[in-house]
């Protein structure tokens, strides 16, 4: 497959709007550090996590599109979807980078982040997520690197990358195994296993451009932190409604990230075609819609069976939590499952587009419910004064500006780097 930078004006009116929003976000970021969290956000002891955490959880789930696409294309060899791989990885790299920016703003003492490198907590999901996301960002960077090398004709760097990125990847996987188990033998086993895999798949880089061990690491790291984001909430069985709290939350977070990731990549492809005035790829999107249907069916199937097995189905019929849950499951699950159920329906773009969007919104709503709406907060001891939470101007501004930044840099990459396939090859 051959790629090209899209030749179009760099500075458009849309770019100007995005840059203005980014500038506003820059001020919000400065305000947060100049005036403090308490002054600039509406977070409190009762609502210690707010918009930014919802935003991070949503964005990480959507950015799951990067690992799902890479896995489909390079491991399951879904050649039909090859065109999605580079933009998906670029989208993922930007998403994770901006999530880290949000986290910097959200952490009270971000300059202590290096403590993650020297402390060894035993069963902290936050520690798992921190390490896993950090390592995954480096893998995403390595996955994307050849695009930059090609643009500037840095062949020597590309050779270096091809030779050494698998070595780095194997070490990263072994290091992660050690950090999560505290066991040297486990790390050694992991090192040996991934070295063997690298050896067995050593030709892959020459053929497809990306050594497959990078993709294996990308999918593995993603599986781990997507599920551990669910594990974060396992400590709150007393606060989170049991419509969402479940011992299987880790699995459900992973499965929903797969579904929303696919939906986001489909939407990304549609938006790229729309904004860059390129032909739409409805046939390919229809095929992806089939995968999305399967991902949704597995996710919502397990979700409902789990709810039934725990004997909590009745909760869906009572109270405001029941309403939220039904909106999530019917709007984000049932309707897309109907809209995307057959080949005929999927080939109708008037059904495919809403089906995709609804699938995406369902997972977004799930994260919102999990972090805020489905929580019953007891408040700080002795309790009784919980009140409500509305994100502040600074919280909204930073969140919106980072979404703007993601769109801006995504377009910038598409305009300057060989990310999209050449148009004549797109059918």
């Amino acid at each position: 497959m051959h790629y090209e930078a899209v030749k179009t004006d760099f500075f458009t009116r849309k770019a100007a709007v995005l840059m203005a929003l980014m500038a506003a976000g820059g001020f919000a970021f400065l305000a947060r550090f100049g005036l403090g969290l308490g002054e600039t956000t509406n977070l409190s002891n009762n609502y210690p996590w707010g918009l930014w955490i919802v935003f991070d959880l949503v964005w990480i789930a959507l950015a799951g599109g990067a690992f799902v696409t890479a896995g489909i294309v390079y491991i399951f060899m879904g050649e039909d979807f090859h065109r999605l791989a580079r933009p998906a990885v670029w989208m993922g790299f930007l998403s994770y980078s901006f999530v880290v920016v949000t986290l910097l703003a959200d952490l009270g003492l971000p300059w202590h982040f290096w403590q993650l490198g020297i402390q060894r907590p035993e069963h902290s999901a936050m520690y798992e997520v921190s390490w896993c996301v950090s390592l995954y960002v480096t893998i995403l960077g390595l996955e994307f690197a050849p695009t930059v090398f090609e643009r500037f004709g840095w062949d020597k760097l590309k050779d270096l990358w091809r030779a050494w990125s698998p070595v780095y990847t194997v070490i990263a996987l072994a290091l992660f195994t050690y950090l999560m188990s505290h066991k040297i033998w486990m790390a050694a086993l992991s090192l040996v296993l991934f070295a063997i895999i690298t050896f067995l798949t050593r030709d892959s880089g020459k053929h497809s451009g990306v050594p497959v061990i990078l993709i294996i690491a990308a999918v593995t790291f993603s599986t781990m932190h997507q599920s551990s984001l669910g594990s974060l909430f396992l400590l709150m069985p007393d606060k989170l409604s049991h419509l969402w709290w479940s011992p299987l939350m880790s699995l459900l977070f992973f499965l929903s990230a797969v579904a929303s990731g696919i939906a986001l990549v489909m939407l990304m492809d549609m938006l790229v075609s729309y904004f860059f005035d390129r032909p739409f790829n409805w046939a390919m999107l229809g095929k992806m819609g089939k995968i999305l249907w399967a991902a949704l069916a597995i996710y919502y199937g397990i979700k409902i069976v789990d709810l039934g097995a725990r004997g909590e189905l009745g909760l869906a019929l009572v109270g405001s939590n029941g309403v939220l849950f039904l909106i999530e499951v019917i709007g984000g699950g049932l309707i897309p499952l109907i809209l995307l159920s057959t080949q005929k329906l999927r080939s109708n773009k008037n059904l495919l587009v809403p089906g995709t969007v609804l699938a995406l919104l369902g997972v977004i709503f799930n994260r919102l419910n999990t972090v805020l709406l489905g929580m019953t907060l007891p408040g700080t001891q002795p309790g009784g004064l919980v009140g409500t939470y509305h994100p502040s101007m600074v919280e909204w501004t930073l969140a919106i500006s980072l979404i703007s930044a993601a769109f801006f840099f995504f377009a910038l990459g598409v305009k300057f780097l060989p990310i999209l396939p050449k148009v004549e090859e797109t059918n």
């Binding site: 402390q119 907590p121 992991s190 296993l193 669910g230």
Partner: protein
């Protein structure tokens, strides 16, 4: 060895000496508050905060035997020092730590300020100092390092301090500041097992005075603060829906399988790739990904 505090709320008169002693020992500022017209009456301030690590909760409950038909019940509230604390399990940098002696301590030099501990605590205890540009977490540490920090004075009123007085001082410093300050003996500091035995003995010897429940014996896997009460604990405003299982137990399993899962997932993906490549070769198609 596991230290604990027993709080016999039937002996508490709501004098708040413990609250003052805690502020004094930890060097915490006062809070500007106002009396609230709620059922909490004279309780002040309304909740724990970065400035108030312990407070006495006030509740008025209906009681026919009381002269006014209302009875005041008090309970000193602070960190429960769980046996298996959710906050310490949540903490990604071990800033919160369950010591083998019993107290759950906090080290601000490690803390990143993620506030997961505030979310995770089933008792609503850790708080952040939101006014600060570097919002650290604050909570009771059972005066973990009080003995080391206490400097025995050499003189008293310009007279050399007598050895007995020095011993008394050290004995006081060996207890948490709140326990030392308690005027009625409502607070007891000691070995958890012994305190539990004493609590059972108190309930057994005065039936009718206490509800037959030691709050903290089993809640969320047990805590290092134990409460006795004359009224059901929900009337004191305690959560009675927390269960007896320790919270970190829920997230332990998925986190323990992460390392094996990394290898399993990696192996599985490699197998899929190799099989797919083999199939592609057998099918006689071009080498996989050759399109590149």
């Amino acid at each position: 060895m596991s230290l604990a505090v027993m709080i016999d709320t039937t002996k508490c008169i709501g004098c708040r000496s413990c609250q003052v002693a805690c502020k004094q020992w930890n060097g915490l500022p006062a809070e500007v508050t106002e009396l609230e017209g709620r059922s909490t009456g004279f309780q002040n301030p309304p909740a724990l905060s970065a400035k108030t690590l312990t407070l006495v909760s006030f509740r008025e409950i209906a009681d026919q035997a009381a002269p006014s038909g209302l009875k005041m019940v008090f309970a000193k509230r602070q960190c429960m020092h769980c046996q298996d604390p959710a906050c310490a399990s949540a903490c990604p940098v071990t800033a919160l730590h369950k010591t083998k002696e019993g107290p759950v301590t906090y080290d601000s030099a490690k803390c990143m300020g993620c506030r997961y501990c505030i979310w995770a605590c089933p008792f609503g205890v850790p708080t952040a100092d939101w006014d600060s540009l570097a919002p650290k977490i604050h909570k009771c540490t059972m005066c973990f390092n009080r003995v080391e920090q206490a400097e025995t004075p050499k003189t008293l009123n310009d007279q050399p301090l007598l050895p007995e007085a020095q011993e008394r001082f050290l004995a006081g410093a060996a207890k948490p500041a709140c326990v030392k300050a308690c005027t009625t003996g409502a607070l007891r500091f000691g070995e958890r097992d012994q305190l539990l035995a004493e609590a059972r003995q108190r309930i057994g010897s005065a039936p009718g005075k206490y509800v037959p429940h030691i709050y903290g014996e089993k809640e969320v896997g047990g805590t290092s603060v134990l409460y006795l009460s004359s009224v059901p604990f929900e009337k004191l405003g305690f959560r009675t829906d927390l269960g007896e299982r320790s919270y970190p137990g829920y997230s332990k399993i998925p986190l323990e399988i992460v390392s094996p899962a990394v290898m399993g997932m990696g192996g599985l993906l490699a197998a899929v790739y190799l099989i797919k490549r083999r199939k592609a070769l057998v099918a006689g198609s071009a080498e996989p990904g050759k399109k590149e």
